[in-house]
């Protein structure tokens, strides 16, 4: 189709040639477009399937089955000598109160074995709930209160329809337990409520008490350490390499190494963290400070590369203009180039952070894959993170942890979405076009 060819041809053959090729060119374009759309559709379909499966499996965990009990806070059980001492109140047999209430609700249960079955329909967390109520308000002693306590995880699964009350020996729920649950349903003494414990509690081996908050706080601490270390370090490195460093063999070596580091598997950073931060510096195991340091090493290359690209995209005229009106090199970078490049750097940082948020492998080596109940109190306290919590729950034998796992994934995804949304907003806000 070049011009020199056309000039020598007569106009008839030229048109013919073009027309003959036209159909094929259109067809090619059409095929390419179709392929593109197919690719997008397949990707979207997979994403939808993923979201639907996780939501379907996980939304149940946002609700929890509760049982209504009429508890009599018997003073002779809680505080027989009427001391009102906090130690006495905290040591009292609250489990006994729950058991007595259950016996009163089902007076026909007499045999020892049957009683055991009956007690098992209420979560062991009920006693702790009562203790907390009394500790908060000792005035409750001697009164009778209607309390909603969490049901055992097996009963929860039964109510949610995940397991059936099976034949003898095949199910987790025995026939007598199923009968009691039916009585409770008839009396409206059992219902599903919003599961606050899931969002406010730490980990637990009882699925009905297990919460995500401990891991979420751990993740926040780790991300905090990672951010305040990796962002300034990464930006400073990028600015120096891009604006000040001479181009020689040493900077070339450094550049190649940074690019290589970005591709190193994350577990390697975990091993490094174990050797350097734990064994050499003697930092505590399982602490967010170490997790943050390890993830800093992992995200630094990403941030440096993104920041350099962002600096490169600032037009030369800005730098020259600044230098032209008498600014020093330092002033031109700090006052003009860096602010213009910052939105791109922030985007790179947040993407790096999002990746760090989802990491488990490097944390395995430094002891953050652990069962931790208490909500971490600081960056030196023991902690775990969201993806590790998901992994630990996925590995637990109790059936109720299946939906907890999916619910935790939903929480993690929400975290990621928020971070990405921040990245988009920041970019929109500060973006400059030339």
């Amino acid at each position: 189709m070049n011009n020199s060819g056309i000039r020598h041809d007569s106009s008839g053959t030229r048109l013919q040639l073009i027309k003959a090729g036209l159909k094929r060119r259109y067809a090619k374009e059409k095929i390419f477009k179709t392929l593109g759309i197919t690719a997008i559709v397949i990707a979207l379909m997979m994403l939808t399937v993923l979201f639907i499966t996780i939501t379907k499996n996980g939304y149940g965990a946002f609700q929890q089955t509760f049982i209504r009990l009429k508890i009599t806070f018997d003073a002779s059980v809680i505080d027989p000598e009427r001391t009102g001492d906090a130690d006495v109140l905290s040591q009292a047999d609250y489990g006994g109160l729950v058991k007595k209430t259950l016996r009163d609700m089902f007076p026909e249960v007499k045999k020892r074995r049957e009683k055991r079955d009956l007690y098992s329909i209420v979560s062991s967390g009920a006693a702790f709930q009562l203790r907390k109520m009394v500790m908060d308000d000792p005035g409750l002693i001697g009164t009778t209160q209607t309390v909603w306590v969490p049901a055992d995880d097996d009963i929860d699964m039964l109510i949610k329809g995940h397991i059936k009350a099976g034949e003898e020996g095949t199910g987790r729920i025995k026939a007598n337990e199923a009968a009691w649950v039916n009585t409770l349903i008839e009396n409206r003494a059992i219902e599903k409520r919003f599961n606050f414990a899931f969002f406010t509690g730490g980990d637990s081996r009882e699925p009905e008490l297990a919460g995500i908050w401990g891991a979420a706080v751990g993740s926040l601490y780790v991300m905090f350490v990672t951010l305040i270390l990796s962002f300034p370090l990464g930006v400073a490195t990028a600015v120096y390499l891009e604006e000040f460093a001479p181009k020689n063999i040493w900077t070339d070596i450094i550049e190649v190494n940074i690019n290589n580091l970005a591709a190193v598997p994350s577990i390697v950073f975990g091993l490094l963290g174990l050797a350097v931060f734990l064994n050499f510096f003697g930092l505590p195991r399982s602490a967010p400070i170490v997790g943050g340091l390890v993830l800093t090493l992992m995200t630094l290359p990403t941030i440096i590369i993104a920041s350099r690209v962002s600096l490169q995209s600032v037009p030369l005229s800005i730098r020259e203009g600044a230098l032209g009106v008498g600014a020093s090199k330092m002033q031109s970078v700090m006052h003009h180039v860096l602010p213009l490049a910052l939105p791109g750097m922030l985007t790179g940082t947040i993407i790096g952070m999002a990746r760090a948020l989802g990491e488990t492998a490097p944390l395995l080596m430094i002891g953050m894959v652990a069962f931790i109940v208490d909500i971490p109190a600081g960056i030196f306290d023991k902690a775990t993170v969201l993806p590790v919590q998901i992994y630990l729950w996925a590995d637990s034998p109790e059936r109720a942890f299946v939906e907890k796992t999916s619910a935790a994934i939903i929480v993690l995804l929400a975290f990621l979405l928020i971070m990405n949304a921040i990245a988009v907003v920041l970019r929109r806000k500060f973006e400059q076009r030339w």
């Binding site: 055991r116 098992s120 062991s124 702790f128 397991i163 059936k164 099976g166 020996g169 095949t170 199910g171 987790r172 637990s204 081996r205 009882e206 350490v225 305040i228 270390l229 962002f231 300034p232 370090l233 930006v235 400073a236 931060f277 734990l278 510096f281 003697g282 930092l283 505590p284 195991r285 399982s286 400070i289 340091l293 700090m334 006052h335 003009h336 860096l338 602010p339 910052l342 002891g367 894959v369 652990a370 069962f371 931790i372 109940v373 208490d374 030196f380 023991k382 630990l392 996925a394 590995d395 637990s396 034998p397 109790e398 059936r399």
Partner: protein
């Protein structure tokens, strides 16, 4: 614009300050740790975590931290030395080895207390959609060993069996397909030792070899075939249960607690005529069961608050007794006298010797 760059500089200074922190940290760290640190076996993890949680909720002490590192990895960490940066307690799904005791002693960890907590049955199970299988340990050995006796004299051939029927005509005509844990797992060690070696010993000439050439005997009896009939499914037992549901012809090897929790979906095969049931494992009738332990560093008992109380909680009847909460989680209790013995030893922190 000036504002942003000022912020950037401030952030950089902050980062520099934080970078110096690690250097100052050892001093802060030496101040102590006010919670118990536990590492070790993933098979003991479900039980140790329950005790740790109850302990944290019912006493004035902080909840211990429990890491699941595997028995070997846990013992390595545990034996690294005395001091707050090392774990206080290690869980193990097997007894501590001589080499590990030696390693411990080299690092100053001389006095340990051993506490046996109970038993864990290892089951071979399949989906409830198909028939339950009844095998002997000899069948298991022939189906899963790398090399099996050829039947001609005292020689071995590479495992030729494709279906369970090939192994024993009374078994069903389905392909041998067993999902189980990888060699790094304590469950796999125990399965090889108790089930495969147990079956292997039924061959007189191999049994006789034990005295002459123990290494070779072990190699024959505990090597698992690598031609695809035994599939290493990772340490995740939940995954194995799901795969069994999807594939009714496959069998899986895992701990009893997973069978217990998923009894509506899977069934345990009968081994040597004994069903893998709670009572049978507790009484020792079921042949494939192993003891679980934890080890305590005596030197740490005075250093870290709550160690003695943790042992007391673990060894109390309400935890490991026949009706305790650990039993609800799938632990198989020890007989009364044995429980009493280990409770006493735990209380007095009796020093363990090989």
């Amino acid at each position: 614009m000036k504002k942003i760059s000022g912020m950037a500089i401030a952030l950089m200074l902050f980062a520099a300050a934080t970078l110096i922190l690690p250097v100052l940290m050892p001093a802060a760290n030496a101040a102590g740790r006010n919670y118990i640190s536990i590492v070790g076996s993933s098979s003991v993890y479900p039980f140790a975590t329950v005790v740790a949680e109850k302990f944290g909720k019912t006493t004035k002490f902080k909840t211990p931290k429990v890491e699941s590192t595997g028995s070997g990895g846990g013992l390595k960490l545990f034996c690294s030395g005395i001091g707050v940066q090392y774990p206080d307690i290690v869980n193990a799904s097997r007894r501590i080895k001589k080499s590990e005791v030696k390693r411990c002693a080299e690092n100053g960890v001389r006095e340990l207390t051993e506490i046996k907590i109970g038993y864990d049955g290892i089951v071979i199970a399949n989906s409830r959609k198909t028939d339950r299988m009844s095998v002997s340990r000899k069948d298991l050995f022939l189906a899963l060993a790398k090399d099996v006796p050829s039947g001609i004299g005292e020689s071995l051939i590479q495992n030729p069996y494709r279906t369970w029927k090939d192994v024993n005509p009374s078994l069903p005509d389905i392909k041998i397909e067993v999902l189980g844990p990888p060699p790094t797992s304590g469950t796999r060690d125990a399965f090889a030792e108790l089930a495969l070696e147990g079956g292997c010993r039924k061959f007189g000439w191999i049994k006789a070899m034990k005295k002459k050439d123990k290494k070779k005997y072990k190699a024959i009896c505990q090597a698992v075939r690598e031609d695809g009939a035994y599939i290493e499914a990772g340490e995740n037992d939940v995954l194995i249960v799901r795969k069994l549901e999807a594939n009714p012809d496959a069998f899986g090897v895992f701990g009893f607690s997973f069978l217990d929790q998923n009894a509506d979906k899977i069934q345990g095969s009968i081994v040597d005529g004994v069903e893998p049931e709670f009572e049978n494992i507790a009484s020792g009738k079921y042949p494939v069961s192993r003891p679980l332990y934890f080890y305590v560093k005596k030197a740490h008992a005075g250093m870290i608050p709550g160690i003695k109380e943790y042992i007391k909680e673990f060894t109390s009847e309400k935890a490991w007794g026949p009706e305790g909460y650990l039993i609800d989680k799938g632990l198989i209790p020890m007989p009364d006298e044995e429980r009493e013995k280990f409770r006493r030893e735990g209380k007095n922190l009796k020093t363990f010797s090989m």
